[in-house]
């Protein structure tokens, strides 16, 4: 199948922020069965991120407040080069800037790399203290950043959206209008707090974090479907997928490819192979020949 012009063997994609700091982990995920990999979101300068604990679990998912730890765009893109020296796979480079100018600067740096697709992280809920409300909740910011980046980017651009947006159809439409080649949805849901009742404190050092894992799947699927109905650009569906059936449901709702994040935490890297096999079994049983036959076929009641 193809996604944004790239040939991929499976729609399964490593989501941003899971392992993706080094070329070696990105290569490994491809070898373990992903069709595409996304880097950790890269900023202009290196970032340490938040102190630990940065993850906590609860019944149905997890919260994280990694806080965009990354080695900076220059060193990050070196990892992408090393990746492509060893392996022929699709790398989505995720970037995060403090404003449109920074996003443009990041996109220009990515132009000079072997990155295949650029993803704009407009929706990290973990740096609000630093950067205020995620851009993905502010229509004018989305338009400004996406159109500025599109004016310079030489590779396709995905805009990563937030589940906290209250009008996803509207946001999706204006993101498409601003020129995005595709949508990644959804980022983690902001915010969750997990409490340690003995210590009378939040578990995370940063007190709260973005919610991910199985529990956000129904939210992701609803939002993806809302967006799918109003845009023509492809959607990289992400949020709570941990089985082949999850992936199929999300594709039926409108996703052209599927991001996998927290499931790596829950099930390890084998999860790509398992999900792939489960998808194949379902498709065989129900007579779907191609992945593309699944996309958007959901009918509302």
């Amino acid at each position: 199948m193809r996604f944004l012009g790239k040939e991929i063997s499976t729609p399964l994609t490593l989501a941003s922020g899971i392992l993706g700091i080094s070329f070696s982990s990105l290569q490994r995920v491809i070898r373990d069965g992903a069709g595409m990999v996304t880097t950790k979101s890269l900023s202009i300068e290196p970032r340490i991120g938040h102190e630990g604990p940065v993850i906590a679990e609860f019944n149905g998912g997890m919260i994280n407040s990694v806080g965009l730890t990354n080695p900076g765009i220059a060193e990050g893109l070196e990892e992408v080069e090393k990746f492509h020296q060893g392996l022929d796979g699709v790398v989505i480079v995720s970037v995060f800037g403090a404003n449109a100018a920074e996003f443009v600067q990041l996109a220009q740096a990515v132009n000079h790399s072997s990155a295949d697709i650029l993803e704009l992280n407009l929706s990290c809920p973990n740096v609000e203290d630093e950067f205020k409300r995620p851009f993905a909740l502010m229509p004018d910011k989305i338009t400004e950043i996406v159109s500025a980046v599109k004016a310079v980017s030489r590779i396709p651009v995905l805009a990563k959206l937030s589940p906290n947006a209250n009008d996803m159809a509207g946001i999706a439409k204006l993101t498409e209008a601003a020129g995005a080649d595709g949508l990644t949805m959804i980022n983690t849901l902001g915010h969750g707090m997990v409490v340690d009742a003995i210590a009378k404190r939040p578990v995370l050092r940063n007190n709260f974090g973005g919610i991910s894992g199985p529990c956000i799947k129904p939210l992701a699927i609803k939002l993806i479907h809302d967006a799918y109905k109003v845009v023509d650009i492809p959607i990289l569906g992400t949020g709570g997928v941990s089985t082949g059936l999850d992936a199929i449901e999300m594709m039926m709702a409108g996703a052209s490819a599927i991001g996998i994040g927290s499931a790596v935490y829950d099930h390890g890297l084998d999860v790509f192979k398992t999900i792939r096999e489960e998808m194949e079994v379902f498709m065989e049983l129900h007579g779907y020949a191609r992945y593309s036959d699944l996309i958007g076929i959901l009918e509302e009641n």
Binding site: Q27, V54, I55, E57, V66, I198
Partner: protein, 264 residues
């Protein structure tokens, strides 16, 4: 769940030497030698520490006062609350033939734990080498003496045992005797030297690696090693000789807090 936590008061504090203390917690930890926990000091942070020992109702870690986090825990008193999750990672294999252990510095706790377990398992011959800068820096000297058939000591300044490193002692021993398995835990440069010796003698070994760890559960990527993409927190920290052979950055470089590559 992988991140289940135990929030516990410090039950006991033992001063090992001027910079090392052993902390005891009354809680259950089903851990094996070489595994580690992530320890949280509230409002401060969370860091990985190897497990020194467990019994049915308690567990211990030996901690070196080296920076902001560890100096904070050195200020804590019995009864102060911390939180612990784990155990994480892979433990040492448990060979019970002729076994040599080569340890140095604050990385000896897992070897002491291993010695205990190997004795329980009826090891045929267990020889330990315990190295440190000076005599006061040596850890668990008595324990190794009791737990091993033979236990050697090396200090850089010769203040106790052989003057030199534990690798010097290792070379001497291997000239006289051979082993089925070598377990190495110490500073990375020391382990690199020990590995070279083991290789020369064509003996199998396992090492105890340290990398910057943030999540401890294989998701953040900060501990990953090149070029194989080994996820040290879940697939290490104990690594066997075949896995180690694939790691170009062993003894060379590691990734810092931002993920940047830094020389060791």
């Amino acid at each position: 769940m992988k991140c289940d936590r135990q929030t516990l008061p410090i039950a006991a504090i033992r001063e090992e030497n001027s910079s090392l203390r052993t902390f005891t917690f009354n809680g259950q930890l089903n851990a094996e030698p070489g595994q580690f926990v992530m320890l949280t000091i509230f409002s401060q942070g969370e860091k990985p520490f190897s497990i020194l020992d467990v019994d049915a109702h308690s567990f211990q870690m030996t901690i070196k006062n080296i920076g902001p986090f560890t100096s904070r825990i050195f200020k804590m008193k019995i009864g102060d609350l911390v939180s612990v999750r784990g155990p994480y990672g892979q433990s040492f294999s448990r060979k019970t033939g002729h076994v040599l252990m080569v340890g140095g510095g604050y990385a000896t706790p897992p070897l002491r734990f291993l010695a205990k377990k190997l004795q329980e398992a009826g090891v045929q011959r267990l020889v330990s080498i315990n190295g440190a800068r000076t005599a006061p820096d040596l850890l668990y000297v008595d324990d190794f003496e009791i737990l091993c058939h033979e236990s050697y000591i090396a200090t850089d300044d010769g203040s106790r045992g052989t003057k030199g490193t534990s690798v010097d002692v290792m070379e001497n021993i291997l000239r006289k005797e051979t082993f089925d398995q070598i377990y190495i835990s110490g500073p990375e440069k020391m382990m690199k030297a020990a590995v070279a010796v083991a290789k020369k003698h064509q003996l199998p070994y396992e090492v105890n690696l340290e990398r910057y760890m943030k999540c401890g559960v294989g998701i953040c990527g900060s501990c990953v090693m090149d070029p194989t993409g080994l996820i040290l927190c879940i697939e290490g920290p104990i690594v066997d000789h075949e896995t180690l052979d694939g790691l170009d950055d062993f003894g060379v470089s590691h990734r810092g807090k931002t993920g940047r590559i830094e020389a060791l």
